[in-house]
């Protein structure tokens, strides 16, 4: 199992159940390893809606801390628009094609 979780390209209501199960399975496995923080990547996300962002909000309410390490532009735009801009923390975020903030 890889060290970071790649969110699917379609992170929306149509895949919400599946995405939630995949994320929860991964998080549970990671917690057993007692890592410092979880790394989530939204590099491949093309389609995202409120239910997709809600999955990560739910992750924020688990004991384990997590950080976004990569974000596609559609994902970053969705975070900023809905008020999850705090997730786009340059401290952890590797800048990606599209928007980069030197």
């Amino acid at each position: 199992m890889s060290d970071r979780f790649e969110l699917p390209s379609e992170l929306n209501i149509y895949s919400a159940l599946e995405s939630r199960d995949a994320l929860l399975t991964w998080v549970t496995a990671q917690m057993a390893k007692a890592k410092g923080y979880l790394e989530i990547s939204a590099r491949d996300v093309v389609e995202v809606d409120g239910s997709g962002l809600q999955l990560l909000a739910a992750l924020s309410n688990m004991e384990q801390t997590w950080h976004l390490v990569e974000a596609s532009e559609p994902f970053a735009e969705a975070c900023r628009t809905l008020g999850f801009g705090d997730w786009l923390d340059p401290l952890y975020l590797k800048s990606h094609s599209g928007e980069s903030n030197p």
């Binding site: 159940l17 939630r20 239910s51 739910a58 924020s60 309410n61 628009t81 809905l82 008020g83």
Partner: protein, 265 residues
């Protein structure tokens, strides 16, 4: 406009402890940052962190409809914003004022569920703090408050410039059926964004259950947005027209807090 129901009360009761605990952390951080800033008044990072803390408290309070916290913290935020812009420098007096304000925010958060704790003395103390904040950020407005013989209250009737840009605060808590009904808070936030300039927006994750308990097709989201726009109340509420049956919505023009805007536009 406010739609209250038992479900909303349940929501508030469940999520409130998370809000209080998060706000307590922010308030503690504000105090630490203020003390650090006294030592290093030119440290921009400290000032930015301070602003973010105050902003987070205000945003979360907005999600829970804690208007006293929102209204008071807004004045603090305005001062911090002017300090970030370099218009106002941190003096020992301002630092003391901000520490007093932080105590007031703590009081308002701690007593969020208890209107009775907000005694006339507390209200008067708070009004004094607001007057001092405004004397720094907007001397003309502060003078006006003094000349009208007292503090701004919820029933203030300050007139807004007609047809001009106004900053509306929009607090929305979406019902569980939102996604299943084909609606999406993100689309609504985009729609609002396109009506003007989003001064701030915050989505509350404290209202969402932990992943392990999450029904991913139910909606638990809520957001608090400050939107600068020439649009009127009807336009703003229109963005929510398809979710109103399943959404608690508060749209407030800060200058007319507690007063319904007349549809004169």
């Amino acid at each position: 406009m406010s739609y209250s129901s038992d479900a909303d009360q349940d929501f508030i009761a469940q999520a409130m402890p998370a809000f209080i605990s998060e706000a307590a952390e922010q308030i503690e951080a504000i105090e630490t940052l203020l003390l650090e800033l006294e030592e290093q008044p030119d440290n921009r990072e400290l000032l930015d962190s301070l602003f973010r803390c105050a902003h987070t408290v205000k945003g979360s309070a907005g999600i829970f409809g804690l208007n006293r916290v929102v209204e008071f913290t807004h004045h603090v935020e305005t001062l911090l914003d002017k300090m970030r812009d370099g218009d106002i420098a941190l003096t020992p007096d301002i630092s003391t004022l901000l520490l007093q304000c932080n105590d007031q925010i703590k009081f308002l958060v701690d007593t969020a569920a208890d209107e009775g704790a907000d005694t006339p003395e507390q209200k008067s103390d708070r009004a004094d703090l607001v007057t001092q904040l405004q004397a720094l950020t907007d001397p003309a407005a502060a003078a006006d408050v003094v000349s009208t013989g007292g503090a701004k209250t919820d029933n203030t009737t300050v007139q807004t410039p007609e047809g001009g840009l106004r900053i509306w605060t929009i607090s929305a808590r979406f019902g569980p059926e939102t996604f299943r009904n084909g609606m999406d808070p993100l689309s609504i936030a985009r729609y609002l964004r396109d009506m003007g300039r989003v001064v701030s927006v915050r989505c509350g994750s404290e209202t969402v259950p932990p992943l392990v308990n999450l029904n991913p097709e139910s909606c638990y989201l809520s957001f608090f947005m400050e939107l600068e726009t020439t649009a009127n109340r009807e336009d703003i509420e229109g963005a929510f027209s398809f979710v109103l049956d399943d959404c608690e919505l508060d749209v407030v023009a800060p200058e007319t807090e507690g007063q319904r805007m007349a549809p004169c536009d």
